[in-house]
């Protein structure tokens, strides 16, 4: 294990501070100039079920998780039992020795699918059916054992700081993190700011945690560090860097993109974004006041609606009035938005739907990852109307696509679905500071009252037949701009008509906007192409698999397998000609996506006539890791895999 290369994991019961622990660790790393990528897994539950957080650390950008853990940091028995087998030989487990004898059978949050094979294995190895048995099994594989008697630390805190035991016990996460930082011989001073960031303003809590951390850090450093080869060291960087979660990036992108109206109905994993926006509803504007800036002149109105039907239709109402309006939801909510999406398409309303996909169908796997809604995003609602669908591959793209989505919506006056997914929404990453100066907001054709007043030939026509299909908009309340909307087919001013000639002209006009969009949207916003164009293997994918694929390409390159990667960002209208060009030149093509049907491979075939030769899919609710891509691509290249479709199944 080299310097500054680490896969770290912590876990525990939901509500016990797993997220805090992981964020404290990750932030401590980032403050020292290191890059991190964090993956969060949790149950659809408030308190008690197992959640865990894997953090990868490196000196260069990290984009994905891996299937092995170097340092497993635990403060409960279940985390050892669930993840003990993931720790690499040469890795280590930090655990509470007081929990050694915890019987596996007594942990009612462990599913029989986990305990049955595990108990069987322990029996075969003649080990006790307890946490100690699991530890021993790992030890036999060469995993180091680092016991940390948390009770001793807690008792010391109670005595030294005179705090009650329930408060002192709340430092458990910090203790485990500090032990791990000691083992890694990382600069202790990085922990202080991480704790301050986590416990904002709670000076007493921060002081207590720092006190607790010191002792735990020293234990790690003095007792265990010598046995653990992997170390973390601060590195210098001049880069201005952010450490944030996917949903935060999208929310910030919406604010940068001039969104002033967001609706939502609570749903996992989409509502984090809306809650973030509501807690950041006012902000300053650039150069907004010569007498000193008012910190509250910019704002967004966030409305929690009664359901997703209201969420979308309310956003449409706001969009008609002229606001950049949006809603955020996930699969079940988007089902309820189907009719509204069609109405917005029929009435050419610019509205953005941020769709966070998760395991489906029905309630599916509400807190787990999947990309199973691609076809639904492309086809939701009856009838035919233009829509744009874009998919972000990582946090940086998610921020920028949030801006693009509003531009497209207003430029082409139609609903835009911004597809992101659970893995992207909940993972954390270090990224370079976003540059707002480079962003441009394009509002499309909106007529001012003066322009409306100057119109000849009977005045304003909302749905005027124009060549590019995009008729200039008037906003509700504008003088001389009165129009009508209806879900019925309509004439140029918006009144109902069932006339067959008008129908054809109106359908053609609406659908023409897709051609206009395809012609105007720059190629860099449509797709990315990574790697050597002449590489013998071409991976085709979309969405959050991007990180695992890019990280895997490096590993494969080191092993002598050159791979290039076509990442779709604009799913609809798909840049079919460009895709066909690339795919015709490719020697071996592999589609990678997180669903059963390989939906995007089907879309590619539909639009290019080209069937990808191999498919790698995964639908167990856990995102694809770098390691899985490496292994499955190798198996395809070496012809070890003979079936066209490879189904990945790893995950805890």
């Amino acid at each position: 294990m080299p310097l500054n290369q680490l896969s770290w994991m912590t876990g525990g019961a939901q509500g016990s501070g797993v997220d805090s622990a992981a964020n404290i660790f990750a932030k401590a790393c980032t403050y020292g100039g290191l890059h991190v990528y964090g993956k969060r897994e949790y149950y659809s539950n408030i308190i008690g079920e197992h959640s865990y957080f894997q953090v990868r650390v490196a000196e260069t950008t990290v984009r994905s998780h891996v299937d092995t853990v170097d340092l497993l940091v635990t403060f409960d028995a279940e985390t050892v039992i669930r993840h003990g087998h993931e720790v690499a030989s040469g890795g280590a487990i930090i655990f509470d020795p007081a929990l050694r004898d915890t019987p596996i059978n007594k942990l009612n949050t462990l599913e029989p699918q986990v305990t049955k094979p595990l108990l069987e294995k322990l029996r075969r190895e003649e080990l006790p059916a307890t946490m100690a048995g699991v530890l021993k099994m790992a030890e036999r594989r060469g995993v180091k054992m680092f016991p940390a008697a948390y009770d001793d630390f807690v008792n010391a805190l109670i005595q030294e700081l005179n705090v009650d035991s329930s408060r002192a016990k709340k430092t458990l996460n910090t203790l485990s993190v500090a032990v791990s930082l000691g083992i890694l011989e990382y600069d202790f001073d990085m922990l202080g700011p991480a704790l301050e960031a986590q416990f904002k303003g709670k000076t007493k809590v921060i002081a207590m945690n720092i006190k607790a951390a010191e002792k735990a850090y020293n234990l790690g450093r003095s007792q265990f560090a010598a046995q653990f080869p992997c170390k973390l060291r601060k590195v210098k960087t001049a880069e201005r860097r952010l450490y944030l979660t996917g949903y935060q990036a999208i929310a910030l992108g919406k604010l940068a993109g001039g969104c002033t109206f967001q609706t939502y109905y609570p749903i996992t994993p989409a509502s984090d974004e809306s809650v973030y926006l509501e807690s950041h509803e006012v902000f300053p504007l650039r150069n907004d006041d010569e007498n000193g800036r008012d910190p509250e002149t910019g704002s967004i109105v966030v409305v929690q609606t009664e359901d997703e039907i209201a969420a979308l239709t309310m956003a449409i109402g706001a969009a008609l009035a002229g606001a950049r309006a949006t809603t955020a939801t996930s699969g079940p909510g988007f089902c309820l938005m189907a009719e509204g999406t069609g109405w917005a398409g029929m009435n050419e309303v610019p509205v953005v739907i941020t769709l966070y996909t998760r395991g489906g169908p029905a309630t599916g796997l509400p807190t787990r990852h999947e990309q199973g809604d691609l076809r639904f995003a492309l086809h939701a609602a009856h009838g035919e109307f233009p829509r744009l669908v874009l998919a972000s591959g990582d946090i940086d793209e998610a921020f920028h696509d949030a801006v693009h989505a509003f531009n497209y919506a207003e430029q082409y006056q139609t609903p835009v679905v911004h597809l992101v997914d659970k893995a992207l929404a909940n993972s954390t990453q270090t990224v370079a500071m976003f540059d707002l100066d480079k962003l441009r907001l394009k509002r499309g054709k909106i007529l001012s009252e003066a322009e409306l007043a100057s119109l000849q030939n009977g005045g304003y026509k909302r749905f005027a037949f124009v060549e590019d299909g995009v008729s200039p908009r008037s906003l509700l309340g504008s003088k001389h701009g009165i129009f009508w909307n209806t879900g019925d087919e309509h004439d140029e001013i918006g009144h109902i008509t069932e006339d067959p000639t008008n129908r054809v002209m109106m359908m053609d006009k609406r659908m023409r906007k897709l051609e206009t969009a395809a012609g105007e949207i720059p190629q860099r916003e449509k797709f990315n192409f990574f790697g050597d164009p002449n590489a013998p293997v071409t991976i085709v994918s979309w969405g959050s698999t991007k990180g695992a694929i890019l990280d895997a390409m490096k590993v494969l390159q080191d092993e002598g397998i050159a791979v290039n990667f076509l990442q779709a960002r604009l799913i609809h209208p798909l840049p079919a000609d460009e895709f066909a060009d690339i795919l015709r030149r490719a020697k071996t093509t592999i589609g990678v996506e997180m669903n059963f049907l390989a939906q995007f491979a089907g879309v590619v075939r539909e639009h290019t006539g080209i069937a990808l030769q191999h498919l790698i899919v995964k639908y167990n609710g856990r995102p694809i890791s770098r390691d899985e891509i490496v292994e499955s691509v190798k198996n395809i290249v070496t012809k070890k895999t003979t079936s066209r479709k490879v189904v990945l199944t790893y995950g805890v």
Binding site: R240, R241, L255, F261, V301, I316, A325, I482, D488
Partner: protein
Amino acid sequence: MAFELATSPVQYKPADYKTEAHNDWCPGCGDFGILSSVQLTLADMQIAPHRVVIFSGIGCSSKIPHFVNTYGIHTLHGRSLPFAVGAKLANPDLTVIAAGGDGDGLGIGVGHFVSAGRRNVDFTYILFNNGVYGLTKGQASPTLRLGVKTKSLPQPNINDGVNPLLLALAAGFTFIARGYSYDVKHLRELIRLGIEHKGSAYIDVLQPCPTYNDINTKDWYGGDDRKDPQTGKALPRVYKLNQNDYDPMIGPNTNDAEIQTKLGHFIEKAMEWGERVPVGVFLKNDTVPSYDLRIAERIKNYFDAAPARRTIADAEGKPMADLAGFFEEVRVT
């Protein structure tokens, strides 16, 4: 300013609120009375046509936006309220009216009806209440009472009817009234009061469907079946709530005991049906802050820079938002 007042006393005539769109309502439909009431009210109030937006759902009555020369948004079945609320919150200067039938608003859309009451957004909802789904050939609507068999029902109604006035009260509407589509003079007064009310106004309009509701007909409301034996004149069922014995006002000075009494009267009158059917203002509660005021508590310049009227980019298209402070929260190096 909630609406733009004309400079001269009469700038807009009723004709200015009319369109040339073909009206395909059945002859004698109660909808016509509501349509003229809306047009006359807007002229009465001299609200510039472009300041008004009429939202509707789906059904015969929901075609009304096409016949009024204001912004007209004919939405989805049952969804007029969230559309209307979205527009009003994005631009609080608009005069927002929602209109639609009882099936639309109290069947498929009833969830939005209840939720709208919780918000008290400043808009006026006019419900065309005729007891049937006209456009789909006369099925029972949510206001048709149990056991009633209107013309095209194969069996008497197996569901009971919801009482829209009581539901509006429970939901939190702060202005609740009922009108009769054949009394335009009275109805236009109710609509004016509804628009003037700062908050969510619900106006239930008894609107006979001449084609499918052969029970609650114009003659039935007018009492044609029960003539005064002496004068030979019909004894109308519809009567107006009398200001002298029914006071709908709840203001800052109304005490709890008075509120109890008023709500008791409300329920009593809202449930009166059959021999006598009251119309008029049932409730006007001025003590509940409207939603825009609640927003303005948090977003101080909400009225000056509402979501639809913000400058979001400079001339070059660069974002106006300065997010440096938010980036600082997540900046690590």
